[in-house]
């Protein structure tokens, strides 16, 4: 089942194109890493997936609906890259606010908040205002608010930023546990090593266009063709862009390794 479907999505801000003809699908229970350099269009894509803005052309659907519809957003959890949240609230009050916005009952909010606060390791910091939190602690609060209403799709924007190594491991375990429970996870990142560890597939974006998409399993552990090499190759000024595009389409269809797909297209 396709949870996210983008078909020729284009978005420009004035005369500056942000996303250019992006076509992508994410299936249920999949973890998709959305990679690209700064300004590649990752955050704009996420904003469209959350209904913050509409595409200029093309169409997209999330969980079979329009993300501008609150009923669709009720099934999405979102963690922004840098949200400082409300500095004069405690983490429980923050979760109570978001739980209220999700229409959860007070008892459900209380129960779920305690569970998540313990899960993200903020139990000892529960009585401190958020303005006294470190960046890593705010990220943990962000994870908790994203998971509060038990969403089917998680959209995470640079989720590993600011987390210490231990928190990274915990968060990675959490993501994998969510995947086991059938949740779909879409996350953007610069961190190729993390993407390689947890993603089923990755999509690489360059200047708003998809330049590569394929299964991580096919490249992981292959010294000659690991994710970092693919990333650098796709973002480099090498020739053969036409071949690359066709390889993207081929790899998407077959889940074959990108190298094999590229060779197949070249041949």
């Amino acid at each position: 089942m396709e949870i996210v479907k983008l078909d020729g999505v284009t978005k420009a801000f004035g005369s500056v194109p942000a996303v250019n003809g992006l076509s992508l699908t994410i299936r249920q229970g999949e973890i998709l890493g959305f990679l690209g350099t700064n300004g590649a269009g990752k955050t704009t894509t996420i904003k469209m997936l959350l209904g913050f803005c509409r595409p200029d052309a093309g169409c997209l659907s999330v969980l079979g609906g329009d993300p501008c519809d609150p009923a669709t957003r009720a099934k999405i959890g979102y963690m922004p890259e840098t949200a400082y949240y409300y500095p004069y609230l405690h983490v429980r009050e923050l979760l109570s606010l978001y739980g209220g916005l999700c229409g959860m009952s007070k008892s459900a909010i209380r129960e779920r908040s305690e569970e998540l606060i313990a899960r993200v390791g903020l139990k000892d910091a529960g009585d401190r205002l958020l303005r006294h939190y470190s960046k890593g602690m705010l990220q943990r609060a962000g994870i908790a608010q994203a998971l509060l209403h038990d969403p089917d799709l998680l959209i995470l924007d640079e989720p590993f930023t600011g987390l210490d190594p231990l928190a990274r491991i915990h968060f990675r375990d959490l993501i994998l546990e969510l995947k086991r429970r059938g949740k779909t996870i879409f996350f953007s990142s610069h961190e190729l090593s993390e993407a390689e560890l947890i993603c089923d597939r990755v999509a690489i974006l360059k200047q708003g266009s998809l330049v590569w998409s394929g299964a991580v399993g096919a490249v992981a552990g292959n010294g000659e063709q690991n994710l970092e090499r693919i990333f650098l190759k796709m973002l480099g000024e090498s020739d053969g862009s036409d071949v690359r595009k066709r390889a993207v389409a081929c790899a998407e269809k077959t889940d074959a390794s990108p190298r094999a797909a590229e060779e197949e297209v070249q041949s």
Partner: protein, 260 residues
């Protein structure tokens, strides 16, 4: 505009909590107490008329403080959210933008009215002790209409917070409210005496700017004049609700068009 009570309650609670925890209000309360107490307790030169004048000044200060609180709270409803990007997780929740507006508006209004209540209670007790008149009907009406005034001020501030910076919002709306409070009643006569285009500008202002003088019962309270009819009171509150609704509708258009 689809609204959900549970979501509105959560948003309103956020505005009230933030206002009290930021501690800005404590400064206003302390300043209010420092100014109100001597004004209400002392009778300068033993002249009773002068005491009445002092009461008038005290009540004027209550009005100015309430304006500062109402506009100050509402002008900061959205800009910090946009700046620190806390608006993103909020918009990602299953909440309509109209609900966010209404929730934030009610929260700012509740916070401003709670502060106003403290001022009125202090003023009422002080005047009661001095003059023996404990919360007469006209005083209650003055408070009720003052709440109507805050409903309009908060709605103006909220609409401005979506298109202006907090300082520009405070300045423009502050000037508009103070100007209308003191000169609103005289606008038709002022307009009649002006050549064009001044006449047209003042006439437009008369029809479209909020008539804050409708909410002002200070003279009646200070001089212990009889209360106004409750029907008039209700009509003025309906005017306040209508004006606030127009401001919220305009704010809703601006919020929907806002690019994130």
């Amino acid at each position: 505009m689809k609204v959900c009570p549970r979501q509105i309650q959560a948003l309103a609670r956020l505005s009230v909590l933030e206002l009290y925890r930021r501690k800005d209000l404590i400064v206003v309360f302390v300043l209010g107490a420092v100014i109100l107490l001597p004004l209400a307790l002392f009778t300068p030169f033993g002249v009773s008329g002068a005491a009445r004048y002092m009461n008038e000044v005290a009540l004027l200060l209550v009005w100015l403080f309430s304006l500062v609180i109402g506009l100050g709270v509402s002008a900061r409803l959205f800009p910090p959210e946009f700046e620190s990007r806390t608006i993103y997780p909020m918009l990602a929740k299953p909440v309509a933008r109209g609900t966010i507006l209404v929730g934030k508006y009610l929260g700012a209004l509740a916070a401003s009215v709670s502060a106003l209540m403290v001022f009125y209670l202090a003023y009422g007790v002080l005047v009661g002790v001095r003059q023996g008149a404990w919360f007469p009907v006209v005083f209650v009406q003055a408070f009720v209409l003052h709440v109507g005034f805050l409903a309009v001020v908060t709605a103006l501030g909220l609409a401005g917070s979506l298109v202006l910076t907090p300082s520009a919002n405070l300045t423009m709306n502050g000037l508009l409210v103070i100007g209308m409070l003191f000169f609103g009643q005289r606008l038709p006569s002022l307009a009649a005496a002006q050549p064009q285009p001044g006449k047209a500008v003042l006439t437009l202002l008369h029809w479209f700017a909020p008539h804050m003088e409708f909410f002002d019962l200070r003279q009646r309270v200070v001089h212990q004049w009889p209360a106004i009819g409750w029907g008039v009171c209700a009509a003025v509150l309906i005017y306040a609700a209508g004006y606030a609704a127009v401001c919220l509708a305009l704010a809703s258009v601006a919020f929907r068009k806002k690019r994130f």
